[in-house]
Symmetry: C2
Subunit: 130 residues, 2 copies
Amino acid sequence: MSFYDQLQFDANNLIPAIIQEQKTGRVLMVAWMNRASLEKTLATGKTHFWSRSRQKFWMKGESSGHTQTVKAVSFDCDGDVLLIQVEQIGAACHEGYQSCFFRTVQNDGTSYKITEPQLQTPGEMYGAKK
Amino acid sequence: MSFYDQLQFDANNLIPAIIQEQKTGRVLMVAWMNRASLEKTLATGKTHFWSRSRQKFWMKGESSGHTQTVKAVSFDCDGDVLLIQVEQIGAACHEGYQSCFFRTVQNDGTSYKITEPQLQTPGEMYGAKK
């Protein structure tokens, strides 16, 4: 049986994909896939997503060079979330951090701080003038 | 500034939370929170969620005993996903697996297999007659 039969795409035909760095276990980001981007991800071994804001198909790293090579694809008991293990080149976050989850809530339960170094500025990643 | 101001709840006032086992880096599950369940999670140190299917507030482990003690709460660059590090008691998945992501796609890109042992049956977890 195809694993696609186990998946539950939402009303917009999308499913969220958690991207995890295989060698460190670090959760890097979450992005959305439709069936075509998932098929492309499996066929090429590089992550492809669907941008809800831009309504556009994109390959991770297509402009920054920070691509993700797929190592394993799992899915949860409800079939409505994907977990993809990758080898990440450079920063995963478009803000230049290794992981998009670079802010952590403090012990007071309301304030937060940045808990990892910024590897690059967005300008350095995308070549934009600052 | 409160971290709540950085969060983007969806049209149903919910945000997905990725639950990760801190000591192993294993991604255990994904569930949904509204603001009240997030506040309860931070106040009690045990994960609380909102069930979309049952339209009900619930504490993880309230029937199985498989609670999650919160170690850290992070959020992503868009503020629309939470990442919560926990100490997990027992199986996180209601199907008796350590992680809900117990099925992995095989090299042919379509078939899948169960890639971890089932620690308990759902009947053992919830005391239901089989």
